[in-house]
């Protein structure tokens, strides 16, 4: 357990560092995705011919992105609650982080989707429901390992979705959201991988 705590310090520090660097000097203007390949734009996009596709009109990539990310992000909150309430120690903390971060992301997603006139799914998909059912029957380290495996897969998928949106989306607000969210998702992935690695090393249930 001690080892796990030592290992977690750098991650904690990283969050602190990010906060600290923002506090120290005025934050630089966020670098935003600017230009798209118009070859893949919807031909009726206003402003397309002037080289300035309307920043508030979504293309197929934006629409797919909002829907798929919403599915994953809602599931992160649901699964995070399970982990926060039922998981062993370090998993509890990770679960709480998922609940907090993804709840915040979800409310942004909802308002973005509204502005882009995209209808978001209102419940998790079958995959996440299955994971949730499975987790409900597990405890201790079995629970932790299953939860972390699902988190790693989900955050890999989320990172891919965000990167794809940054490169190929068109809606300014949605691309901006993707650019701002990606570093956080990458931290989540790193955190989950570090926890998993540590649990694998211990190779045994830490506590029930």
């Amino acid at each position: 357990m001690l080892r796990l705590k030592t290992m977690l310090i750098p991650l904690g520090m990283m969050t602190a560092m990010i906060t600290a660097s923002h506090a120290a000097d005025p934050p630089p203007p966020p670098a935003l995705p600017d230009y798209t390949n118009p070859g893949f734009a919807n031909p009726d996009t206003p402003g397309l011919l002037d080289g300035k596709p309307a920043g508030n009109v979504p293309n197929t990539v934006d629409i797919n992105f909002l829907k798929q990310l919403a599915i994953g992000s809602q599931a992160e909150v649901a699964l995070g609650k399970l982990a926060r309430d039922r998981g062993p120690d370090p998993i509890k903390g990770f679960g709480k982080r998922m609940v907090d971060d993804h709840s915040a992301a979800n409310s942004k997603l909802v308002s973005l989707a509204r502005s882009a006139h995209v209808e978001l799914p209102d419940k998790p998909d079958a995959k996440h429901e299955a994971v949730q059912r499975e987790l409900s029957s597990l405890q201790g380290s079995a629970f932790s390992m299953r939860y972390l495996a699902s988190q790693i897969e989900d955050h890999q998928e989320a990172a891919q979705l965000l990167m794809h949106e940054i490169g190929s989306g068109q809606h300014g607000g949605v691309r901006q959201f993707a650019a701002q969210t990606l570093p956080v998702v990458m931290q989540h992935l790193e955190h989950a991988r570090a926890l998993q690695e540590q649990l694998m090393k211990e190779g045994a249930p830490a506590r029930d």
Binding site: P33, P38, G51, Q68, I71, V131, S150, M163, H164, A179
Partner: protein, 464 residues
């Protein structure tokens, strides 16, 4: 213990069996190139209208990161004797720190304070979302004049100032005829003139290889379909459009080996000099022969590693024994430029080298750790890919000009023979001068060199 691990492993397998695959939740075009949705007319108008702002954005990024002034090292020219070599550290320091202060900090401290120089980060493509090959003006003009073939894109132009690019046209040295010296006649080899320039210097097989290396074939941005970035239908590009005279003109591209688009890193064209001793090829693929590379480039450098797109636009699939072998043979004939101060074992001749160059050699082999990978007696190569783990110094995931700041992973060791001829440096061209490379590696390897040691390293590299 073993049993518990076994139980653990079987638990880990569960999600794989139970869930749908990762791809089921991703859009259908995250790996394959999507089909265009807008008509070419509209794309052209849109791209042309956006071009000035796109170029301004890139110019802003370059001037924020680098000192772009034309400041050559007095008396130092590239091997053809025409183009001066730029000097000094050009990567700008973040406010409030010196190079020595940076070198004294730990990677964690540099990350925390956000003081990793921006010029040490990935250099984005001028238009990351479209990517593709971009040629410098000199190449575009010469190909237009000789072949009436248009290499000018309507969406982007080349971004670096001319004084940070290699000599053009570059001299050509043949390892099969070292007695001849530069055989280029000061001309750019093209499909129009190659025979008269190379006749008598090469074998029939090499000549045929050369003809193929100079023959344009369809490419992602230069082809006959509506999915292109050049005004008229194009016959395509030739291998030596980027590798001008078997060297490089600093034309750039995005790596074909990474997805999604925003994660791909920029590629600065590598020189083909000394190909005979290079055993791994490609930015991530580590192909084991130049034959493999030559064959597969028709779907990678040409089509971003998307064989489906290649098929659509007219791929050239050179016949392995009859064409690829000849193209490879020709490439293997190209030598490095002469380095009169180097002895056969790759060490400096003390009778010819200056004190500073000799001091540089010592640092290179010792404190600077350069020779760990750039092995002097093996043409400064080690035939390996190495991960410098630069991500120790910055937080990943930020977006800069539509490109995501990410770890690059392992990249192959490049030769340092004739290195003064090949700016810009590193696989993506993020470093403009040799002095920049010294500062970069001093930080990344934590070698803590003094200013005199850094200067002597640069002097040494100029002698290679």
């Amino acid at each position: 213990m073993a049993t518990r691990i076994a139980v653990f492993s079987s638990l880990l397998m569960l999600p794989l069996l139970a869930s749908r695959g990762l791809g089921d939740g991703l859009p259908p075009d995250t790996t394959y190139r999507p089909l265009p949705t807008a008509p070419l007319d509209a794309v052209k108008k849109s791209d042309t209208a956006a071009k000035p702002a796109v170029m301004q954005r890139q110019a802003r990024l370059l001037s924020e990161r680098y000192d772009l002034a034309n400041r050559p090292i007095p008396g130092v020219k590239m091997s053809g004797g025409r183009k001066p070599v730029q000097g000094g550290v050009r990567v700008k320091l973040p406010a409030g720190v010196t190079w020595d202060q940076l070198a004294a900090m730990t990677p964690e401290e540099i990350t925390q304070k956000g003081v990793f120089p921006a010029g040490f980060l990935r250099l984005p493509h001028v238009k990351q979302a479209s990517g593709g090959q971009v040629f410098p003006d000199g190449e575009i003009d010469e190909i237009k004049a000789q072949e009436q073939r248009n290499l000018r894109r309507f969406d982007v132009d080349f971004d670096l100032p001319d004084h940070f690019t290699p000599e053009f046209p570059a001299p050509i040295f043949l390892q099969s005829r070292p007695d001849l010296g530069d055989v280029s006649q000061g001309k750019l080899l093209t499909i129009r003139n190659f025979y008269s320039i190379m006749v008598g210097h090469v074998t029939p097989v090499q000549m045929e290889g050369l003809r193929l290396l100079l023959t344009p074939f369809p490419q992602e941005e230069f082809n006959q379909t509506e999915d292109r970035k050049v005004e008229e239908q194009s016959n395509g590009v030739a291998c030596l459009d980027c590798h001008q005279n078997f060297h490089t003109n600093a034309a750039f591209h995005l790596t074909p080996d990474v997805r999604p688009q925003a994660a791909r890193f920029r590629l600065d064209t590598t020189s083909l000099r000394g190909m005979f001793n290079q055993q791994i090829h490609g930015s991530k693929r580590s192909l084991r022969s130049v034959e493999d590379f030559t064959e597969f480039e028709q779907r990678t450098a040409y089509f971003n590693g998307d064989h489906v797109s290649a098929t659509r636009k007219g791929v050239h699939l050179p016949d392995r024994p009859n064409q690829v072998a000849m193209m490879a043979q020709m490439q293997n004939m190209i030598d490095f430029p002469p380095a009169p101060k180097l002895r056969p074992d790759g060490t400096l001749d003390p009778a010819k080298a200056t004190q500073q160059e000799l001091a540089g050699e010592k640092i290179f082999n010792g404190k600077g750790q350069c020779a760990t990978c750039h092995v002097p007696r093996h043409d400064f190569l080690d035939q390996q890919m190495h991960d410098l783990k630069t991500e120790r110094f910055f937080a990943s995931g930020k977006v800069v000009n539509d490109q995501i700041v990410l770890p690059d992973g392992p990249i192959k060791t490049f030769t340092l023979r004739g290195i003064k001829d090949s700016p810009p440096y590193l696989h993506d061209g993020r470093l403009l001068t040799l002095a920049d490379t010294v500062e970069f590696f001093n930080l990344v390897l934590g070698t803590k060199l003094t200013q005199a040691e850094k200067d002597s390293l640069v002097a040494y590299m100029l002698a290679l």
